[in-house]
Amino acid sequence: MNEELRELYQQVILDHNKSPRNFKKLDHHNHFAEGYNPLCGDKIDVYVQIEDGIVKDISFQGTGCAISKASASLMSSLVKGKPVAEAEILFEKFHDLITGKTADENALEELGKLAVFAGVKDFPTRVKCASLAWHTMQSAIKNETSTVTIEE
C-alpha cells in the first residue's frame, strides 16, 4: 500500500470500521442529533445521555465510509464519561488535527488515540468524513434537534 494511503487508513481505523464501538440506538438518551453530509450521502444519528454536565453514555447509528465510521466509533469511546465542556475542547483539538493546524508533537500526544486521524489532513475531500460524527455530537449536546448539514 502507498505510504500516504497507509497513513490515512491506519489499522486502528480499519478495526473501528469493522467493529465500531457504541454502534446502537441509546434507549435512555436525553440528547439527539442527526448529521448529514450532502456530498456523499453519509448519515449519522448520535444519541447522548447527559447527567450533571457529564456525558454518561453516547452511541451512534448510520452509514458512512471507513473514516467516518471509525471517527464516530473513537469519538463515542473517548467522549463517554467526560464533562461536556471537555468533549467540546476535544473536538476543537481533533478539528485542528484533521485540518493540519495541530502545532507540534506535544499537541499530538494530547490527542492520544485520535492521532491516528492525522493522515486525513492530506486528503481535503475526506475532512468532512472525519468530522461529521463530531459536529453531530456537538449539536446533540447543545440539544439542537434539527439535522446538521456540514460545510467545512
Partner: protein, 419 residues
C-alpha cells in the same frame, strides 16, 4: 445483462484503433500518484481531443470578436464560425432547422429554460408533470421550482429492481390534467437506456409535450429528433468531448415560438424602448447576452471529431468494455451491480456489502484510476435502491480492456485491505 463474446471492433472502413484515438487526447498521457491515468469518470465529463483544444486556441488567437453585432471583419468571421457550429449541431441531431438549436450553458440551463419559460406561460394550478424515478437532479429540481410556484403536481414513473422504468401501466399516468413530461433518456447513475419512444408516443396521444434529458445519451447513441418526435431535447457539450460551459436546447419551432423569453438582454431583442421591447426571432430570442462563442465553436469541432471516429463504432467499443467489465466485476467477492437493465450503455455502478464507495474511490485514486463515488446527483434513485452511494465506472471511446483489468486488480486490493 447478458455477456456476449467480444467481436472485433470496426468502424466500417478502418479498424477501430483505440491506441491511435488515445494519442488524440493529451491528458491521457499523464501519471497520477506515479501510475498511468485510467480515466473512468466519463459520465461526469469526457476528456477533450486535441482538435477541440486547438479550436479554442485558434478562436482566441485569430477570430475573437462579438457575434451578430459588428460590421467589421472579425465580427463577421466569428459570427460565421458560431453559426456554422449551430448548423453542425442541427445536423448531428437532425433538427429541421438551425433556428431550433439554442446554445445554453449546459443541460441544466436548457431544462431550466423550458421549465421556467414553458412552465410560466402554459402550466397552471393543478396541472400534472410526469418525470421518472431516475432523473438527474437537473431534470427534477427545475420542475420542483415551477411546481411550487404554480401549484403543479409531479408524478414519477417508478424504477424496478433492475433499474428499468416500469412502463406497463404508463397509460394510467395520464389524466386530462397532465400537461408536460420530462424524461431521462440514459441514466447517468445506472446506464439504463430508457424506452423514450414509447413514452413520447403515449404522451402525444394525450397531447403532452416531452422533453428528453439526453446529457448521457449524445455520446453513445445517434439521435434523430425528428424520428424520436421529442418536443425538446437537452444536452451538454462536455460529455460529448467538447468544452464545459456550453450545451444545447433543441425545441420544436412552433413551441419555441409560442414561449416567452427566459432571460432578457442584448441579442434577444428586436426593438427596445424605455417601456417595452419586441423580441428577436429564433434562436436568438433565447440567447440573451454574449454567448459562449469559443466553446460553441469548439463543440462543433468535437462533433466533427466524433463523426470522424463514428458514433456507432464508439458505441460498439464502449458496449464491449461494458460487457467485459460487468463479467469481471461479478467475479469479485461481495460486489453487487446496481442497474442491470437489458439495455445499458457506458455506465456501470456497483456497491460492496461492507466497503463504502468513498473508501473504494480513495484507494483506486492511488492506482491512478478515476471513478466517481457518491450519489451521482440522483439522491431519490439511491434512496430507491436503499443505498447512500455507489462507485461508478463509465466508459468513453478511448478506454481499453487493459484499463478494465487495472480497475479489477485495484478493486481486488481494496477488498484485501478491508477484509
Amino acid at each position: 445483462m447478458s455477456v456476449k463474446t467480444l467481436t472485433p471492433l470496426t468502424t466500417g472502413v478502418d479498424e477501430y484503433n483505440v491506441e491511435k484515438i488515445r494519442k488524440d487526447f493529451p491528458i491521457l498521457a499523464q501519471t497520477i500518484h506515479g501510475k498511468p491515468l485510467v480515466y473512468l469518470d466519463n459520465a461526469a465529463t469526457a476528456q477533450k481531443p486535441q482538435a477541440v483544444i486547438d479550436s479554442i486556441v485558434e478562436y482566441y488567437t485569430s477570430m475573437n470578436a462579438n457575434v451578430h453585432r459588428g460590421v467589421h471583419h472579425l465580427s463577421e468571421v466569428s459570427t460565421k464560425a458560431f453559426e456554422d457550429a449551430r448548423i453542425k449541431i442541427k445536423e448531428f441531431i437532425n433538427a429541421k432547422s438551425e433556428s431550433e438549436v439554442i446554445f445554453t450553458r449546459g443541460t441544466t440551463e436548457a431544462i431550466n429554460l423550458v421549465a421556467a419559460s414553458y412552465g410560466r406561460a402554459f402550466l397552471k394550478e393543478g396541472d400534472e408533470i410526469i418525470l421518472t424515478g431516475m432523473e438527474h437532479h437537473s431534470n427534477l429540481v427545475p420542475w420542483q421550482l415551477i411546481a411550487k410556484e404554480k401549484q403543479l403536481k409531479i408524478k414519477i414513473i417508478p424504477v424496478d429492481d433492475n433499474g428499468e422504468l416500469v412502463l406497463d401501466d404508463l397509460e394510467n399516468f395520464f389524466t386530462e390534467k397532465t400537461k408536460f413530461a420530462a424524461i431521462n433518456y440514459v441514466s447517468n447513475s445506472l446506464g439504463t437506456i430508457n424506452d423514450v419512444k414509447k413514452i413520447i408516443d403515449t404522451s402525444h396521444l394525450h397531447s403532452v409535450p416531452v422533453l428528453l434529458d439526453a446529457a448521457q445519451t449524445v455520446n453513445h447513441l445517434e439521435i434523430d429528433v425528428q424520428k424520436l418526435d421529442c418536443d425538446f431535447l437537452a444536452f451538454s457539450g462536455h460529455k460529448l468531448y467538447g468544452p464545459t460551459g456550453i450545451g444545447i436546447l433543441y425545441g420544436k419551432k412552433s413551441l419555441l415560438d409560442s414561449m416567452p423569453p427566459y432571460m432578457g438582454g442584448g441579442d434577444m431583442i428586436a426593438k427596445v424602448t424605455y417601456s417595452e421591447s419586441t423580441y428577436n426571432e429564433l434562436p436568438h430570442k433565447f440567447e440573451a447576452g454574449t454567448s459562449n462563442i469559443a466553446d460553441a465553436i469548439a463543440l462543433g469541432a468535437a462533433i466533427d471529431y466524433v463523426k470522424q471516429i463514428g458514433l456507432e463504432a464508439i458505441a460498439h467499443h464502449e458496449n464491449c468494455l461494458l460487457e467485459y467489465a460487468t463479467a469481471e466485476l461479478l467475479n469479485l467477492e461481495g460486489l453487487k451491480i446496481i442497474g442491470t437493465a437489458k439495455n445499458k450503455c457506458g455506465v456501470i455502478s456497483f456497491v460492496f456489502d461492507t466497503i463504502h464507495p468513498h473508501d473504494v474511490g480513495t484507494f483506486l485514486d492511488f492506482e491512478g484510476i478515476a471513478v466517481r463515488t457518491g450519489h451521482h446527483c440522483t439522491q431519490p434513485l439511491m434512496h430507491r435502491f436503499g443505498i447512500p452511494a455507489t462507485t461508478r465506472a463509465s466508459f468513453a471511446m478511448y478506454n481499453t480492456k487493459n484499463e478494465v483489468d487495472i480497475l479489477i486488480n485495484g478493486l481486488k486490493r481494496v477488498i484485501k485491505v478491508f477484509k
